[in-house]
Symmetry: C2
Subunit: 287 residues, 2 copies
């Protein structure tokens, strides 16, 4: 059970930062916020997601926090920590929400003051929307919460972030190494976004708007994409993503070749394999 | 208003044939069936989808029908019509449910006895399941119903099939030429299925089952694919589908190149275009 006498600080009140604040406050925790935008900070205060917050001169909030959650993009988080990381007090444990871990976790762990610990995690609950104004729409229950501990992490920190995830409402909590996480996310999330975007960019098919069916809608739901966050995540994980694109391309090329050759059996083999593998996901997939 | 004194015959009581029977019977029409499988025929009779049916010696049913709906795959429909098409009585109007029209509509129209008319149509309401046993799960309201008339079709037949679609529950009825339909379906449906299948076939990623998020589930919902029907539809429409695959591949290659070059702006441009185009579909897309 998380200790409710401890103070929580959310740095970056975006969609996920806002949602974390909302849930922690609802569960009775003391939550403050730091945000660049005054407007969104005020929104979070008015909604009661946080009890107080600052856009600047926030050093005291940082140095008093028992626990911190960074709702920042990886590049921003790195920059922030270079500037303010030394303020965290001994005993402070913090986590993040970043969609890539390589290049983020190790450098930040190396910058931690003595007694301060970074236990990285990833709530796989992004939506096409962003901003604290949509935080209340986010539902964590069916989503995956991934903890990415390194050898620098303690059992205590892992327990804390696990309990945090439970308070936030996640029903599926797992752990992966930083490398495993980034490989996984390359396939399971980033490749899918790359595909959806490519499908929309392939042609100006707005004339076909009236004729879409479920399959098109399903594939392009995520084609409305936050360009700032996703270009950052793609570039941070590009080695893995390029590998995934190449493997996907290989399979598509195989399908194309079967079409050209009029190879019905080749197509059916691919369809059967696809059906079989997708069936595996049904059994295990959460949500 | 469709005339309820007229008799309807469904040839091929699969998922869609079964659903058409169900809806027509519910609306008070007299519906008989012809099906190869005795078991499924009995199922349809027991469920009250049809009042009677036959698996063979069904010539009388065919020659008495005022209206016929063929719930058959294109190849099967062509074969069936070559054998039994001459039995249709003058004044009979019939339609189909096939997902491709080129190579189907013209040959069959050419085979029609005098006074018999084929007005082709496509209910874009396929599901990953098949079989009459799942017919009741199909929902036509949010789906597109496409009529593909040729110069051989009369206004009377177009009116009939439009009213049929309304009785069946479709809220979005449009017309396209045979060529427009097949081009449209190549992009809006077939390419999406080709992508979903390729995504599943790219790698054996069953180890990642536990980590899927919404994006993966969305993109692969249709990866469980009826290999018999889809290999047929793919091959029937392969010229269009190959073109669509190539255009999609071009866009994906552009994205890959931006990754390799570390070109953040190039990525963001694609993401913005994708978001803008997808937004167009939101405004117009049914369902």
């Amino acid at each position: 059970m998380l200790d409710k006498s401890k103070s929580y600080l959310i740095v970056g009140l975006g969609l996920l930062g806002g949602k974390y604040a909302l849930e922690l406050t609802r569960a009775g925790f003391r939550v403050d916020g730091i945000n660049r935008s005054e407007k969104h900070l005020q929104y979070a205060i008015e909604k009661g997601y946080i009890r107080s917050g600052k856009t600047h001169d926030f050093e005291d909030l940082v140095s008093e926090a028992d626990y911190i959650i960074f709702g920042l993009y990886p590049t921003t988080l790195l920059e922030w920590f270079k500037t303010y990381g030394h303020l965290l007090k001994p005993g402070c444990i913090f986590t993040d929400v970043s969609g890539v871990k390589t290049g983020l976790v190790e450098p930040i762990q190396a910058m931690c003051p003595p007694g301060v610990e970074f236990i990285a995690s990833h709530p796989m609950a992004g939506r096409e929307t962003s901003s604290v104004e949509h935080a209340a729409e986010v539902n964590f229950a069916p989503a995956n919460f991934i903890i990415t501990p390194t050898e620098k992490n303690t059992a205590k920190a892992i327990v804390w972030v696990t309990e945090l995830a439970e308070v936030l409402g996640f029903e599926h909590i797992s752990t992966l190494t930083v490398e495993e996480h980034d490989r996984m996310i390359g396939y399971v999330s980033q490749l899918c976004h790359a595909i959806a975007v490519s499908l929309m960019c392939a042609n100006d098919n707005s004339a076909l708007c009236e004729y879409t069916g479920d399959s098109f809608r399903d594939l392009t739901r995520i084609a409305k994409i936050n360009e700032t966050m996703w270009s950052e995540l793609f570039l941070w994980n590009r080695k893995n993503l390029i590998e995934e694109i190449d493997q996907f391309d290989g399979a598509l090329a195989q399908l194309r070749a079967a079409l050209v050759a009029g190879d019905r059996e080749g197509l059916e083999d691919m369809f059967r394999l696809s059906t079989q593998r997708r069936g595996m996901f049904d059994k295990k997939t959460p949500g």
